[in-house]
């Protein structure tokens, strides 16, 4: 698999606070990567730097070998790097369909003159198809403010995909989604994204979701990368266990194993 994104010695400081230090990451085409780390570990700072919201203090961000560090967000989006947000960034006074239509209008604006209607039957059909891919077409005519958090998340992610990104960052896609729905939510999401052959990097606090959907995992701790390897290895890493995951995940995993043994006995 070819490398589509490579960061080299990426640094970000806010005065004396070092938010990211010596971040070296390679993302390959078609890869699904999970990112873990406690609050303040530097995960979102990393995403903000790659997507142009923050300018790195030092280092390179190479996308298809072109250095994009410091470029405006919109230019990076046009190059094929998109993101969703931890708090969904929608157009609150508009319907779900209108939100997606605006996203499609922006993605395709070069093909239309200023005085030609932006929205027509073809664009509306494309928007409905996109919503159907994420199984939220039934909410098309509802205002986004009336939706459950899980649906708002899916709308946010669907909008991030309209530019047909080569690399998509998902910032805590399941935050605000109920524990019972998380697994099916991620399955819907990953299925929808697989159809686009997009590389996906998702930030997640739920280790079961990381295990289930990310073959590779990157662990952040205090602005540095603690581990970057196949997910099973990262989750077994002593430092990751101590500084990132904590005891809870292992205790529950151990409990599950013990329960299985008891059931087997």
């Amino acid at each position: 698999m070819s490398v589509i994104l490579e960061t080299v010695g990426l640094e970000k400081s806010f005065d004396a606070v070092v938010a990211a230090h010596n971040i070296n990451i390679r993302i390959h085409a078609g890869e699904v990567v999970g990112v873990i780390g406690s609050n303040g570990a530097g995960k979102t700072t990393f995403v903000n730097m790659v997507t142009g919201y923050l300018t790195p203090t030092a280092g390179q961000i190479l996308f298809h070998r072109e250095d994009i560090a410091g470029m405006p967000t919109r230019e990076i989006t046009k190059m094929g790097i998109c993101r969703s947000f931890q708090i969904p960034q929608l157009f609150p006074e508009l319907t779900v369909l209108d939100n997606v239509l605006i996203a499609l209008t922006i993605a395709r604006r070069g093909k239309r003159g200023w005085l030609r209607p932006a929205i027509d039957a073809g664009l509306t059909q494309d928007a409905m198809d996109l919503l159907a891919r994420f199984h939220i077409e039934e909410h098309a005519h509802k205002l986004t403010t009336t939706l459950a958090q899980g649906v708002r998340k899916l709308v946010d992610i669907a909008m991030a995909t309209v530019a047909q990104p080569r690399l998509l960052f998902l910032d805590e896609p399941t935050s605000g989604v109920s524990a019972e729905e998380k697994m099916s939510f991620m399955a819907t999401l990953i299925d929808a994204l697989k159809a686009t052959d997009t590389s996906v990097l998702f930030i997640e606090h739920d280790m079961e979701l990381i295990e289930a959907f990310a073959p590779r995992c990157i662990a952040f701790y205090e602005g540095t990368i603690l581990a970057d390897a196949p997910t099973s290895q990262v989750l077994e890493n002593d430092k990751v266990r101590e500084f990132v995951i904590g005891a809870e995940f292992h205790r529950s995993a151990d409990d599950d194993a013990q329960n299985d043994m008891q059931k087997g006995a």
Partner: protein, 324 residues
């Protein structure tokens, strides 16, 4: 014309209606219709900026640029041809808004409102202290000529009325197209969530700048038409009270449709006439009460009454389309 929507057809039909009004209405009321069309264009300019969440308290700047372009073209260049005057006014507003837009496009909410007001007041002060341009008294404009034809008396008044109607309706139709087009939709999205707009891959600043320049152009056309109708310009055109009046019109009329500010301007003009007649010393209080009642009971303006009526009479799925 096969892809015209209801608003565009309404604007087409409005032209013969306006011509009929010129014949049927008393002279004083025809004057108000004509003045309302010039001012209505400026209110329309305020409205399209409001669609982006920007309230311009300085739209009088370009209203004044249009008026003074007409006056100065005659005073210094000897030009009275209205088409040449319109070209000069549009060019002046494009240059000025192109430069000022580089600064203003960075600001939102109260900062945008105050900056537009400040820039407009600079022009007001300059003109007020400029003796060569008549200072606070302003100066008179010539009778308009049309490609060498200079009608006078009733014919001249009628010719300007017809041109004003034609330009106002055409401008409104083009603005309607603009609002339905890609940049118009982006402008609407900027009001809702600018960060998302940038992350979707377009420049919010560029769209705001384009909208500001378009607003400037139609305001200057409104300024030319209004000034030529009255035959006089004064620095008051750039005063903040004039700009506030345009904001008042949009609040009264609503931002739901390009027709709303045009009708709203006429309603305000008539309201003012009757308010002065009913209460000559406190007529502003009547306008203030109307403003308060509108904000309380019709926060989306008079146009929302039409929208409500059409939604009641149409099936739910067509209601949204109808409101456009």
């Amino acid at each position: 014309m096969k892809d015209f929507d209801k608003t565009e057809w309404a604007l087409v039909i409005a032209f013969p209606v306006l011509l009929a009004l010129m014949v049927l209405l008393p002279r004083w009321l025809v004057n108000y219709v004509q003045i309302s069309m010039g001012m209505g264009l400026v209110a329309l300019a305020v409205m399209i900026q409001m669609r982006a969440g920007l309230v311009s308290f300085g739209q009088g700047l370009y209203f004044c640029v249009g008026g003074y372009a007409a006056g100065m073209a005659d005073k210094f260049l000897g030009i009275s041809d209205i088409f040449l005057i319109l070209i000069l006014a549009v060019a002046a507003s494009l240059v000025l808004s192109g430069v000022l837009g580089l600064l203003l496009r960075r600001y939102r909410e109260i900062f945008f409102a105050m900056l537009t007001l400040a820039v407009s007041m600079i022009l007001f002060s300059l003109l007020s202290s400029s003796h060569g341009l008549g200072s606070t008294d302003g100066f008179n404009l010539p009778q308009a000529s049309y490609l060498g034809w200079t009608p006078t008396g009733e014919t001249g008044t009628a010719a300007l009325y017809v041109l004003t109607a034609l330009l106002t309706l055409t401008s409104a139709a083009l603005i309607h197209r603009f609002l339905r087009g890609p940049v118009g939709k982006i402008v609407e999205a900027i009001r809702e969530n600018e960060l998302r707009v940038e992350y979707l891959g377009t420049s919010a600043h560029a769209s705001v700048h384009a909208t500001y320049m378009i607003a400037a152009v139609i305001s200057s056309i409104g300024g030319v038409l209004w000034a030529m109708s009255l035959g006089h310009v004064t620095p008051e055109m750039a005063n903040w009270t004039t700009s506030g009046q345009f904001v008042f019109i949009v609040i009264l009329a609503g931002t739901g449709n390009v027709i709303a500010p045009l009708v709203g301007t006429f309603v305000l003009e008539v309201l003012r006439v009757y308010a002065v007649e009913v209460s000559p010393n406190t007529w502003q209080m009547i306008l203030g009460i109307v403003m308060l009642l509108t904000i309380v009971f019709l926060p989306k303006g008079l146009w929302s009454l039409l929208e409500r009526a059409s939604k009641r009479s149409l099936p739910h799925e067509h209601a949204q389309e109808q409101s456009q």
